[in-house]
């Protein structure tokens, strides 16, 4: 699979742009003499874009992490932590805004963190100031689906927190909770394709 071809002359400046136009990857070379070459690779199909939940995190009311679980093979745990952390700021901003919205927040694109992947980040704030952050890959995600997901996740969270051996404020270490979350994620992922 050809990803990129670069030719650099002795005194030429080269700019390589990666762009996605109409489903094909287009690489354009801008020569210093205002000549541009572009190579388009159309044989690459982007991976089947079903809605895939990349990661789910629970953050306590002092912004302390209570639970984070990722569902991709490539474990970029650090990248996901970073995304979740950034989204907390947006949550705080929304909360301090005197607009009255229900317990559900919708966050749109966090912007292109990487040129190859888009993430949608959803937030949910409970009455006890616990935040759930959901990171998912792009598609037309229906509002109802996300709400449904959060409701089921909330009730799994409740059961985990009602465990008398759970110390409030510490991380959730229950295996049952992890299993339930995985099941919820699986059942939601299969549901929305195409």
């Amino acid at each position: 699979m050809i990803v990129c071809i670069a030719v650099v002359g002795h005194q030429t400046e080269l700019k390589i742009l990666m762009e996605k136009k109409r489903g094909k990857w287009v690489f354009s070379f801008v020569h210093s003499k205002v000549k541009s070459y572009s190579i388009s690779i159309s044989g690459i199909k982007p991976r089947a874009r079903e809605k895939m939940i990349v990661c789910i995190a629970v953050v306590g009311h002092q912004n302390n992490p209570l639970y984070i679980q990722s569902f991709t093979e490539a474990d970029d745990a650090l990248k996901l932590h970073h995304i979740v952390h950034c989204s907390l700021d947006v949550v705080d901003e929304r909360v301090n805004n005197p607009k009255k919205s229900g317990p559900m927040l919708n966050e749109t694109f966090l912007g292109l963190l990487y040129p190859t992947e888009n993430y949608k980040v959803y937030g949910y704030l409970t009455n006890t100031k616990v935040k759930f952050i959901l990171v998912t890959t792009d598609l037309d995600v229906r509002d109802a689906d996300v709400r449904n997901f959060f409701r089921r996740f909330h009730s799994a969270y409740l059961d985990a927190v009602s465990n008398p051996f759970h110390v409030p404020g510490k991380k959730i270490t229950s295996k049952t909770f992890a299993e339930r979350v995985t099941n919820i994620v699986k059942s939601v992922s299969f549901h929305t394709t195409g």
């Binding site: 009311h61 229900g102 317990p103 409970t126 009455n127 006890t128 100031k129 909330h154 008398p164």
Partner: protein
């Protein structure tokens, strides 16, 4: 999937908690026993408030949260609401329950075995009954602090079986 427990089991459990903490575990230190019981109540209230606020939109101010305690929270716990709510609008609330469920089966009469004056016996009875109120005070305190309202809760049993809980919100 909800499991149920009989009310008499709850009553017996609570009486036994108070009895073992006061007479066995911290026999010489009633203050410590009271604090331990209140701490248990705190954790229970913390977890219960999480569960019972699930379906609701967020509270806009303290009064909303207190009203939630008086109505929904109390009815989930005791199948009735608080009968009277008073406030001085400066952070103190008095919740009055005319027939507090956990005290309804306790006699307010001092035991005939105690010696000494009737007044002393009366005081001792009040003290013992008062011990049973640390748990519900803890529940209220736990629930409110989970909703973001730190407070101190105390109980007042001047006229049984009615019972008042005084909530002082810490500024």
């Amino acid at each position: 999937m909800a499991r149920e427990v009989s009310e008499s089991c709850m009553d017996s459990l609570l009486t036994e908690i108070v009895s073992s903490y006061c007479n066995v575990l911290y026999a010489a230190k009633p203050e410590l026993a009271a604090r331990r019981i209140e701490a248990i109540g705190y954790q229970v209230g913390h977890q219960l408030s999480e569960r019972y606020t699930m379906e609701r939109p967020r509270f806009s101010d303290h009064l909303e949260a207190i009203k939630f305690i008086c109505k929904d929270f109390w009815s989930e716990l005791f199948k009735k609401q608080i009968d009277n709510l008073k406030t001085n609008h400066r952070g103190t609330f008095v919740l009055q329950d005319d027939k507090f469920a956990w005290l309804s089966r306790m006699s307010g009469e001092p035991s005939t075995e105690t010696r000494g004056s009737a007044q002393e016996a009366g005081n001792k009875a009040a003290e013992t009954t008062g011990m049973h109120l640390y748990f519900p005070c803890g529940i209220i305190r736990g629930a409110l602090s989970n909703l973001g309202i730190p407070c101190a809760v105390s109980a007042d049993i001047s006229n049984l079986p009615a019972c008042s809980f005084v909530i002082r919100i810490k500024v």
